[in-house]
């Protein structure tokens, strides 16, 4: 802002802010790409790969992420420690059950640049399985990032007025419809 003094402007430009993102019903890959951009500092016009101007990112509700397709069953995370017989392959569902933050952590790790700054950026990423955040982090948070995926509404979340306003496409044979009584002549 041009109304700031020089020192205040300097501080505002180079400060490391704390950003929050809610991962409920979101695909972990999209969350991870948003996190990686912010951790590297690529959203700032003063970006340089050596200048370490990335922000802190806090991801909450990682337990409630939503994979598209059948990825919970099909996606496999493999690891090998180097010792014989230690090749482990876990599906995304098994991985998530073991550690609810692991999927997003691995996704962000894979999206960051493969150099020595990656580890420091991963230290600046905080993952929490539920929306319970510690006090000191809550006090540091400055901004909440918008969710990448629009969560669709369940049928139970629509009000009766919205349901009535939606036209019937065909004449149904349903007994639940209200009807006016008819005089039966026998």
């Amino acid at each position: 802002m041009s109304s700031f003094s020089r020192s205040a402007q300097q501080w505002a430009t180079f400060a490391r802010s704390w950003l929050l993102i809610d991962a409920r019903m979101q695909p972990p890959g999209k969350i991870a790409s948003v996190c990686s951009v912010r951790l590297q500092g690529k959203h700032k016009p003063i970006y340089h790969p050596l200048s370490d101007i990335g922000d802190h990112v806090v991801v909450m509700n990682t337990r409630h992420i939503a994979f598209s397709g059948n990825k919970w069953e099909q996606k496999v995370y493999s690891s090998h420690t180097g010792y014989p017989g230690s090749f482990k392959q876990l599906t995304a569902a098994q991985m998530h059950q073991k550690d609810p933050t692991a999927i997003i952590k691995l996704a962000v790790y894979g999206m960051l640049p493969k150099n020595l700054t990656r580890r420091t950026m991963m230290q600046r990423l905080q993952l929490f399985p539920d929306d319970l955040l510690p006090d000191d982090i809550l006090r540091n948070l400055t901004e909440e990032l918008p969710q990448p995926r629009e969560i669709p509404r369940k049928l139970s979340e629509y009000t009766q007025e919205e349901r009535d306003a939606f036209p019937m496409l065909w004449t149904p044979f349903r007994a639940e419809l209200r009807c006016r009584p008819v005089r039966m002549v026998c």
């Binding site: 019903m25 409630h64 992420i65 939503a66 994979f67 598209s68 397709g69 059948n70 990825k71 919970w72 069953e73 099909q74 996606k75 496999v76 392959q89 599906t91 569902a93 998530h96 059950q97 669709p152 509404r153 369940k154 049928l155 139970s156 629509y158 919205e162 349901r163 939606f166 036209p167 019937m168 496409l169 065909w170 004449t171 149904p172 044979f173 349903r174 007994a175 639940e176 419809l177 009807c179 006016r180 009584p181 008819v182 005089r183 039966m184 002549v185 026998c186």
Partner: protein, 240 residues
């Protein structure tokens, strides 16, 4: 067919047996209807509207109103047969009532309801208000001959309904549990998913994905919906 014939023969008393009078038969029919059916053929001027109910059995005239405990297909069929018999024996008269004001479809001459409303490539698994019009209360699809959908749209709607069920967007359309059945407490809470093409238990993990030129991809969404209208410049991404 044979079972029905046998049941009919058993139900019908033989010539030696006592024949039931008209009122007794009416009572039976009435009980049947009250047990099974809240019956109402709705809607347009084409179908006459009947409303049958718990009135006093002796009075044949007056308003009848039925309450139902469950609607089953066999119940519907039974009620329909009873109504037809009553109608043919001139015990009911159908009065065609004028319907309430409803919005008119922009293309009324088409045979399929989707084409009537010009929604051909415009719906998705998230349009739950549309999909709920073509499903039963336990979540299954209604048959084509009832809804009037054409074959392609019927399959597309069925696919979208399946995807909506798996995404948890239709929580009230679950099949009813057997009476007295207590569901076991699940150790893992259900995982959130969307655009799932295949059934959850049928899919195997991809242990070896393969090289870039022959990678085993994970499919998302369904290719039947590939012609849907897209308002963003990015193409539809089915193979992840």
């Amino acid at each position: 067919m044979r079972k029905r014939e046998r049941a009919r023969r058993r139900a019908r008393p033989g010539r030696e047996g006592v024949r039931k009078g008209g009122r007794e038969r009416m009572k039976e029919r009435h009980l049947l209807l009250c047990r099974w059916v809240k019956f109402h053929i709705a809607g347009s001027a084409i179908y006459p509207r009947f409303l049958i109910g718990q009135g006093a059995v002796n009075t044949h005239c007056g308003y009848y109103e039925c309450h139902h405990s469950c609607i089953t297909p066999s119940g519907f069929r039974q009620a329909g047969k009873c109504l037809k018999r009553l109608f043919l024996m001139n015990e009911i008269e159908g009065v065609i009532e004028p319907t309430s004001e409803r919005p008119q479809p922009p293309n009324p001459t088409a045979s399929c309801p989707i084409y009537r409303w010009n929604l051909q490539n415009k719906y998705n698994y998230t349009d739950v208000l549309l999909l709920s019009q073509f499903i039963r209360s336990d979540g299954g699809m209604l048959p084509q001959r009832i809804t009037g959908l054409c074959a392609q749209e019927h399959t597309k709607i069925a696919i979208c309904v399946q995807m909506a069920h798996r995404a948890g967007l239709l929580p009230d359309h679950k099949p009813p549990l057997p009476v007295g059945h207590v569901p076991k407490p699940k150790s893992n809470p259900p995982l959130n998913r969307y655009l799932t093409r295949y059934s959850v238990n049928s899919v195997k993990p991809i242990y070896k994905t393969g090289l870039k030129w022959c990678k085993k991809r994970m499919s998302v969404g369904h290719s039947a919906l590939k012609n849907n209208v897209r308002y963003s410049p990015k193409p539809l991404y089915i193979k992840h």
